[in-house]
Amino acid sequence: MIFATTPSQTVGPYFAIGLPWEAGPHAVPPGTPGAIRIAGVVCDGAGQPVPDNLIETWQADPAGRFADLHGHGGPSALEGFRGFARSGFEVGDGSWGIVTVKPGAVPGPGGAAQAPHIAVSVFARGLLHRCVTRIYFADEEAANAADPVLASVPADRRATLLAQPTDDGYRFDIRLQGPGETVFFAV
């Protein structure tokens, strides 16, 4: 290591000037077959909504391919697949939401498959550094049971990582503090 990293600072209350954009919440283009909405509410330790939340997600496509610089796993067959979404509002009510497709399984530690999951960064006023969590899917019981990352989470907290099916996708709430606190990870 030659240089030390630049420290993180809060995204602050005014990030909407620079970060959200119209297509930001869409990890896939409008009209993509199989598109789902994943949405929820971000709450603080008093159970109050966090209106100035900024959520970013990153994931593979249904075949386990990533739209990164090198096209990890090979090029996606989904036209316009970006795999990244950003949700944030100038004047929010605590909710967040993205439109995407359900990711496929990708390799995990030691070659074991990981259950379908989405990486999540949580930013907000009052967060001096992002909080990292993962979205898993409650209806992937067999895959979840074999997932090495979920296995590393105390059993009584795993449910905080499970998105629950809804009419148009899944619901995933994020609780920053207190009862039912979402599991956050050190990357």
């Binding site: 240089f3 630049t6 993180s8 990030f15 610089l69 990352v149 503090q177």
Partner: protein, 242 residues
């Protein structure tokens, strides 16, 4: 893997304690109900964490993305400045083609945001947002207006030192960074709980840009240089099978 990933690490160094501010920092009141109380769980760096988005095409909108003084018909009020530098990793390797997003208050310390109630004037010539992609040497450059300091409600007589917000995507989810760039010699540093949330004084210095006579343009704008350092490759091999 079929394609070259020679400039893309397969793991990232775990950051030392204190590299970033603690999430629980009582001096900054908004952390009180927002910091997680449970310990973080160590996440193995799998393919999900060592890859990241390429947002250039989605986010670069026009010729004045990186010149915040030319986004409106009229010119903004204030001190025109150039802010430039490089995005590097801890090995000193430049990160090319990575998106740099900035946002800031105007010269009077007012943000163009519906929630900003500070009664300083808005500037019809200034939105306060910019974007650019780093070049092959990891360089970025913005032309903007030096932002003003502004009061906030954290404590009695609280003022934020002038700063520009920076968002860096890096090459991987693991490298994502949002931070703030400060200006040298600001008398408000001593009183700002956000700046001082970084406990190591040397680390705080890494958030302060430097005046550069070399990059200043005669009869046009003084320049400030600031290099941003993101996490570098880890010593351990990739933790997941490829």
């Amino acid at each position: 893997m079929s394609r070259s990933t020679t400039d893309t690490p397969t793991s990232y160094e775990r950051e030392p304690e204190g590299a970033h501010p603690p999430l629980d920092h009582p001096g900054y009141k908004s952390t009180r109900l927002r910091h997680p109380r449970q310990p973080l769980i160590r996440l193995p760096q799998t393919v999900t964490e060592i890859t990241g988005p390429q947002l250039g095409p989605a986010r670069l909108l026009g010729p004045h993305d990186a010149d915040l003084t030319r986004q409106h018909e009229g010119e903004p009020i204030g001190e025109r400045i150039i802010v430039g530098g490089r995005v590097l990793d801890t090995e000193g390797k430049p990160l090319r083609d990575t998106l740099v997003e900035v946002w800031q208050a105007n010269a009077a310390g007012r943000y163009r945001h519906r929630s900003d109630r500070w009664p300083a004037p808005l500037d019809p010539g200034f939105s306060g947002a910019g974007r650019c992609l780093t070049d092959d040497a990891g360089r970025f450059r913005f032309t903007t207006i030096k932002p003003g300091a502004y009061p906030w409600g954290n404590h009695h007589n609280a003022w934020r030192p002038a700063h520009i917000h920076f968002s860096l995507l890096g090459r991987a989810f693991a490298q994502r960074l949002v931070t703030q760039m400060y200006f040298p010699g600001d008398p408000l540093f001593a009183y700002d709980p956000i700046f001082n949330s970084v406990r190591d004084p040397a680390a705080r210095e890494r958030m302060i840009c430097r005046f550069s006579i070399h990059d200043s343009r005669p009869d046009w704008a003084p320049a400030y240089g600031w290099d941003i350092v993101l996490r570098g490759p880890g010593a351990t091999p990739f933790e997941a099978a490829l």
